[in-house]
């Protein structure tokens, strides 16, 4: 059976940019472990010849034509932004490396 450690829970929290208190980490590590256990049980039942399901609908090739559709009116996109400047979304300075 899977065991999600406190360290793994902390790693996932960092990847998700979530700040969790020590007691929350213990609590969530236990819950995540339980969820992983349920999934593991499904894997036990599914034989090798059953591929993992990513999409429940038996559909492929859903396309749209390459035609313009009106988007948001000028500045409407910015209206919900906490901060804007020069027609752009303003965000805190980006720490670390240039992408």
């Amino acid at each position: 059976m899977p065991t999600i450690s406190r360290e793994e829970a902390a790693h996932l929290a960092r990847l998700a940019r979530l700040e969790l208190a020590p007691d929350e980490l213990d609590h969530l590590a236990g819950q995540l472990d339980a969820i992983a256990g349920y999934v593991a049980r499904v894997s036990e039942v599914a034989a090798e010849d059953i591929p993992p399901t990513s999409h429940p609908l038996p559909l492929t090739n859903v396309f749209r034509d390459d035609e313009l559709k009106p988007g948001l009116e000028a500045q409407a996109g910015l209206a919900a932004a906490p901060e804007a400047e020069d027609g752009r979304f303003r965000v805190p300075r980006i720490l670390g490396e240039e992408a």
Binding site: L15, R17, S54, H55, L57, L59, T60, N61, V62, F63, R64, D65, D66, E67, L68, K69, P70, G71, L72, A74, Q75, G77, L78, E85, D86, G87, R88, F89, R90, V91, P92, R93, I94, G96, E97, E98, A99
Partner: protein, 504 residues
Amino acid sequence: MTVTTQRLPTLAEAVARYDPVLGLEVHVELGTVTKMFCGCSTTFGAEPNSQVCPVCLGLPGSLPVLNRVAVESAIRLGLALNCTIASWCRFARKNYFYPDMPKNFQISQYDEPIAYNGWLDVVYEGVTYRIGVTRAHLEEDTGKSVHVGGATGRIHGASHALLDYNRSGIPLIEIVSKPILVPPAIAPAVGRAYVTELRMLIRALGISPARMELGQLRCDANVSLKPSGATEFGTRTETKNVNSLRSVERAISYEIRRQAAVLSEGGRVVQETRHWHEDTGETTAGRSKEQAEDYRYFPEPDLVPLAPSPEWVESLRATLPESPVARRARLQREWRLSDLEMRDVLNAGAVDLVAATVDAGSDPAGAKKWWLGQIARAANERGVDLEQVGISPSDVAQVQALVAAGTLNDRLARQVIDGVLAGEGTPDEVVAARGLAAVSDDAALLTAVDEAIAAMPDVAAKVRAGKLAAVGALVGAVMKATRGQADAARVRELTLQRLTGPAA
């Protein structure tokens, strides 16, 4: 480990001890009318955030729908790169936090690319190198960030950043090469030739204008070294966003030399991304990749799988243009160039430019002469590619038309090209502004001829006595008097007529 530039070996010294292995990742922005997953325009240069909608802003509840033309473009490029086209594949979420991706994930393809396992033949100095292609997959572009408050838009010292999402969601194809192992001394040049060839192919397919200066074609260069003759690859670095053909060659060359210096001093190459600096011709360390990235890819639940039928793929194969090799052979015949001349055009990255100039009405010889001569020299001096130097094929064709019409002689035509390169406008505008039209009016020329004869009676006498070679001094005087704007051949003709001709 820091290595000072002064101690870097030359490329020749570096490849005497080490064999470089290259891996090139090329991103091409598709020229579709709309974005990959929404109907927003992809037009370049629009007002910031004027081509956005809930989908490409990543607003909650919005759902992507795939652009058919983007998929067709990827399949056609895959076929042209001799790839296998996947009969079934999915999109995947690549999760990371960065403000240029408002959803906090990029929709890409992970272990199921739409096209894989192909190749591209690249000709360099008359020799063909087959460059393997691992995969070509579809993904969406990111927004553009401007860093404010630091020096020249860099992150370092910036107080905040501003985001424009017009580019967010524009369809991209990423083409990943297999390891490129070619004769070490020419590795940087073959790397450049590969990107050049890829650009020609993309343009021939009509799937993107592929203008590097607009970021429509971007190259990330992976470079590693191994001791000469060794089989095991060394640690690689990835130099990001090399945005001209010339820089592809320079960046690869710099990394080979830098890594050779590190290794020969007993150091260790650090696996990292590096940033290319166009101005200094150097790369600097970026993000370390020693720790594996954790993008937590998983199948994109909002897009159903892609399953191109064999019939669809074959119908797209029927739309492929002639191969670049066949096209060059045809153009060489049409332009009546020798193998060596055609090689020069190819090495200069000028095939498309010469072709476009000929299409705009120029004769092939004239088009080739300008692009490989004066314009190539200007591009070289400025350190940019031919396409970025500031003159278009139609400008060149216009200059050549003025030459053909006798309005410009060769010397004046060069001045007009200079004027266009200096940003003074179109050839016609430069001719008008600089007053460069050649004096082709015989009456005006005859006045100048008569003045020259009157000023140099002894020379005139020699010519009359049959010493025709002496006429050069008179022609020179007329050219000087007309400030070089006359057709020298016509001046010579008129002067000889005046002195010895039937008219007398």
